[in-house]
Assembly symmetry: C2
Homo-oligomer: 333 residues x 2
């Protein structure tokens, strides 16, 4: 990314092991994230040409001298946050805030260096069929993020769950809520292809209204009291307030849209009396379970990829997502 | 309260049953709340002379025709929010946001009408000894609120708990965290008599610094990672940010100080990745347990009353608390 709207695919030197806990991965697939669009659109600044991408699956090419569990030749899924998976924060399930956390960037590439390989990467059972690659790639971020949102929102049996946002994360939050046993799942979307996928993933209701009207609809669908669980998957002021106001007193809001320009009014929050939990998803916590669900073909999260491009056409992936022509673009290195 | 700083004790008509679910209580004791000081100080407006007070214990004088469980002659403890205790919100433990909630005001008086008596009031075992009355009165709000803060902050065995605020609620949050089995309890206070009471209630550490320095001290005492649990018992921007910044990633902040002029920065909150839960405490959820602890003399929360006045001197109770000469003023009708 050279500047907003200016993504180029260039030859760069192969990454090399720089710490003995690193591994080098040859990517099977990568993709464009909704959060990459903040940069594409100029909301997040670009101060210098920056390698983009943080979602990845592939085969381990090389492992550092201190890597114990990950072996060359394994097919692995990782997360955008490298974690040691041993510190007290990781042990509590918040690997995205590991005491030794490192951001994994530059995954829109053929090769990638992953720090803290033992703590970060999870190997699949053998080399997966090619048809599973998009599903596993989804687990690397959007599914893991959606799952965290659903868990943070306490989605589960008997619950009415509302999802704010119909991007890949919002749609997969519907899938996560369904897997977690939610009784009723309300997808908030005004785009027909996305509504369709939401229904396929397990939504029971679609609400097309936004803002106060959307809130009123959700509250009414949820017995007049508001939803037990609301998953926020956008990151704007409007979406956060829509999520908080859609939840019942004592309910839970899980927010995973990367916050941009959000300020929460303390008094309203106080009297809303809802649980709030959000942030960069500790995808690593959920990876073993999600990989299992994918290997058994219980879930097909890869359906969010409705555009499949060679890596060389990465810029078109950004454009298509920015213009909402595509939900999510998969890139083949 | 006629105006900020102007509290008068006047003869008023006795309250009467207005709904068949009401009860009339003859108060054994009442008190001044930290939240009453927002009005005393002019932060909350006074538009007309307003009966004050919302903490009460006493003997049931009369019960409405539809009151089933509460009987005249019983000694009862209630909360500032009247709740039916049967709606789904109450059943989930959020009685302060009951679908039929009513605020109970005007408790700084000899007699009080309590709506939804069956859902709101909890009777003690017989008429308690006079020495227990301050303890039971504390359960009516400050102890129940502190307990909710501690539960919302997930205080429990093995946890390091920090308490922001050394008013009656903050001090009783120390007691609650101790009862809930917390391992280490850090009281943030710079006032010696309050530090002393905090230590008596079970604090293991005292931090006198505030703001960034206070945060740094708490984080260091909590293994460099921040506290597992933080209870916020003030309600200002500074105290909320101090609480959020003192918590570790994945930790819990329970906030019970009534928010005034607070706005939470969304980006910081996102990356802090802490659980937030707060609001008007559902005291009713905890009353049976708290009354049991008091009747067995396991806890002595009434120690927060360091000023005992006849109701006729209510104004002095406000003044003493405002000037921090007293932690909490008990008023005898």
């Amino acid at each position: 990314m050279y500047a907003p709207g200016d993504v180029r695919v260039e030859e760069r030197p192969d990454p090399a092991i720089t710490a003995p806990t690193d591994a080098i991965i040859r990517l099977a697939a990568t993709c464009v994230c909704g959060s990459d669009l903040w940069t594409w659109r100029g909301t997040d600044p670009v101060t210098q040409p920056t390698p983009m991408g943080h979602e990845y699956v592939g085969i381990v090419e090389e492992a550092g001298a201190e890597v114990r569990n990950i072996k060359p030749g394994q097919f692995v899924v990782g997360s955008f946050m490298a974690s040691d998976n041993t510190c007290p924060i990781c042990q509590a399930g918040y690997q995205s805030r590991c005491a030794n956390v490192q951001f994994v960037g530059g995954a829109q590439a053929q090769m990638l260096r992953v720090p803290l390989a033992d703590g970060t990467l999870v190997a699949t059972q053998g080399i997966p069929a090619g048809t599973l690659v998009p599903d596993l790639l989804a687990a690397s971020d959007v599914l893991g993020t959606a799952w965290f949102g659903a868990v943070a929102a306490d989605a589960g049996p008997g619950k009415t769950v509302a999802v704010v946002g119909d991007g890949a994360v919002g749609l997969l939050a519907v899938l996560a809520a369904r897997q977690l046993g939610a009784e009723r799942i309300i997808a908030m979307s005004r785009h027909e292809p996305r509504q369709k996928l939401a229904l396929e993933f397990g939504a029971t209701d679609i609400v097309t209204e936004r803002g106060d009207e959307g809130v009123a609809q959700v509250r009414e669908l949820a017995g007049g009291l508001g939803a037990h669980s609301v998953i926020e998957a956008v990151g704007t002021q409007e979406s956060m307030m829509q999520a908080i106001r859609s939840a019942r007193a004592g309910g839970h809001v899980g927010y995973v849209g990367v916050a941009h320009g959000v300020t929460l009014p303390g008094e309203e929050l106080f009297y809303a009396e809802v649980h709030l939990l959000g942030g960069p998803a500790p995808v690593r916590r959920f990876l073993p379970h999600l990989i299992g669900l994918i290997e058994s073909q219980t879930i097909n999260p890869g359906k969010v990829f409705d555009l499949d491009l060679p890596l060389s056409e990465a810029a078109e992936g950004y454009r298509a997502m920015d213009e909402r022509r595509a939900i999510k673009a998969l890139l083949r290195p």
